[in-house]
Point group: C2
DNA sequence: GAGTGGTCTAGACCACTGT
DNA sequence: CAGTGGTCTAGACCACTCC
């Protein structure tokens, strides 16, 4: 015998009217007190039902404003052709490279509308990252954290961490200084500067609910997941040159990957 | 002034001991009544804190068993080299094709341990799918739903829907009958049968919280997201030959995409 | 049967929003 | 200031698990 929970009943009652577009985005639901009366239930029980709908991403709960049907956010597309695009630009003149980068490409915004932030730190590799790079533990890595946001918003589009082996890029000291960011032409041109030719990029994608830290850093509403993209760049000799970690808000990010097949 | 919520305080108190491995997977938390006494709070408030941790995927709540630290599930990797792999097999002898398929490849399980289910339905394309295929609305599509599960489990690994234009594959009537599934060699060999050579596959990946329907169909625990993979297969002449929709449990699925870059 | 978690009530108080 | 949502209490009852 399955137990029937009162808050599920209330949620099941509200869901169809939201999903079938009977209520449009922005429309308000009945007040919690009215819902409680209407269903003959207590206020906390109604509250449980509303929390459920909020966790499912169906409604936004506005303190003092009422519960409203959520408006879907337009997704930003992160296309894996970005790698080839950036590599092609690595050999173009400085002025061209400086004009626009991958973030502008992803979001469709102009460079002036973007606020860029970079932070570099040198760390000694512990077992895990050392294994990823195939270097001995204790090798010095350059860990770079990036944050880019739209100037009128507070939250960045993504949280990005990128790791490099320090000695591999030390041939150009400019690459070790965060003050030189944002680097015209991005990380592909940085690698090009020290003679590294990337050969392929591997992306591992997973998804999970957001952590409280991510809620704060990315300003995520309830009812969103985060997409984790763990990227590994190899050069043409199959050496790992970059290991990156990207955290993306699931409700407005779409990843696009194209797999080309060989001819028969 | 930010309001301090009692249930957040309790959750914040428990989180570190779970995440820093002070408690290992499988360890039990204190009973809800004990937690309430210890924090000087009511039982429902403690319950709210435990729900939060469960939604974050940190604990499993076992009715009558106690709240235990969740054991991470081992992820199944879905590698985009699967497409080339399957295409290469499309021209191998029947016996070889029948021996193993992509699901066996993804999961590492043998064919006998898998339970396969397929359902075919013919539908007239409405505006949306017709646009994806580039055919007039009303064109007859074959909509195929697949479910594969491990024989000792109840929930399938994923929910898969695939759509084809009926006339494109009607040259071989065997392709229209679900009784011929599971087809040795999979969908790539099916296309090969009617002379279609796939050229590339586009995958669009998004993530969101699970819906109640998905909870039931995939037996998802709280604190998991679903990964949606919207795939489009093109043939060598850039014609759309297959549109698929895959719903994957986020807590045990990892997608792997490799992007190869051109030589300078 | 003892101990666990899950849910519910009735009412209260506070915070936030908009008029 | 009126109306909204968010939280909390104290205690109760029930379902589930395991011994």
């Amino acid at each position: 015998m399955t137990l029937i929970r009162a808050y599920e009943v209330i949620a099941d009652d509200l869901r169809p009217s939201i999903r079938e577009g009977e209520r449009g985005p922005g429309d308000r639901l009945a007040a919690k007190a009215d819902l409680a009366r209407h269903h003959g239930r207590s206020v906390p029980t109604v509250q449980n039902a509303l929390r459920l709908l909020s966790d499912e991403g169906l409604i936004d709960r506005g303190h003092g404003r009422g519960n409203v049907v959520r408006r879907p956010r337009t997704p930003a597309v992160r296309d894996d052709s970005r790698y080839q695009w950036e590599e092609d630009r690595a050999r173009l003149p400085l002025a061209t490279r400086a004009a626009t980068g991958v973030t502008e490409r992803d979001t469709g915004l102009h460079a002036e509308a973007l606020v860029f932030h970079a932070q570099y730190r040198e760390v000694e590799a512990s077992a895990e990252p050392a294994g990823a790079f195939g270097v001995p533990a204790g090798t010095v890595l350059l860990r770079r954290a990036y944050r880019t946001r739209y100037s009128v918003e507070v939250a960045p589009f993504s949280l990005v961490t990128s790791g490099l082996v320090r000695d591999v890029i030390a041939a150009d000291p400019d690459l070790l200084d965060e003050a030189n960011e944002s680097w015209p032409g991005g990380s592909r041109h940085q690698l090009h500067t020290v003679g590294i030719e990337p050969g392929r990029v591997e992306a591992r994608v997973t998804a999970r609910p957001r952590t409280p830290e991510e809620v704060a850093a990315l300003d995520l509403p309830p009812g969103t997941s985060v997409i984790l993209l763990h990227g590994t760049s190899y050069d043409v000799d199959d050496r790992v040159v970059d290991v990156s970690h990207v955290t993306l808000p699931g409700d407005r990010t779409e990843l696009l990957f194209t797999t080309r097949l060989e001819r028969w």
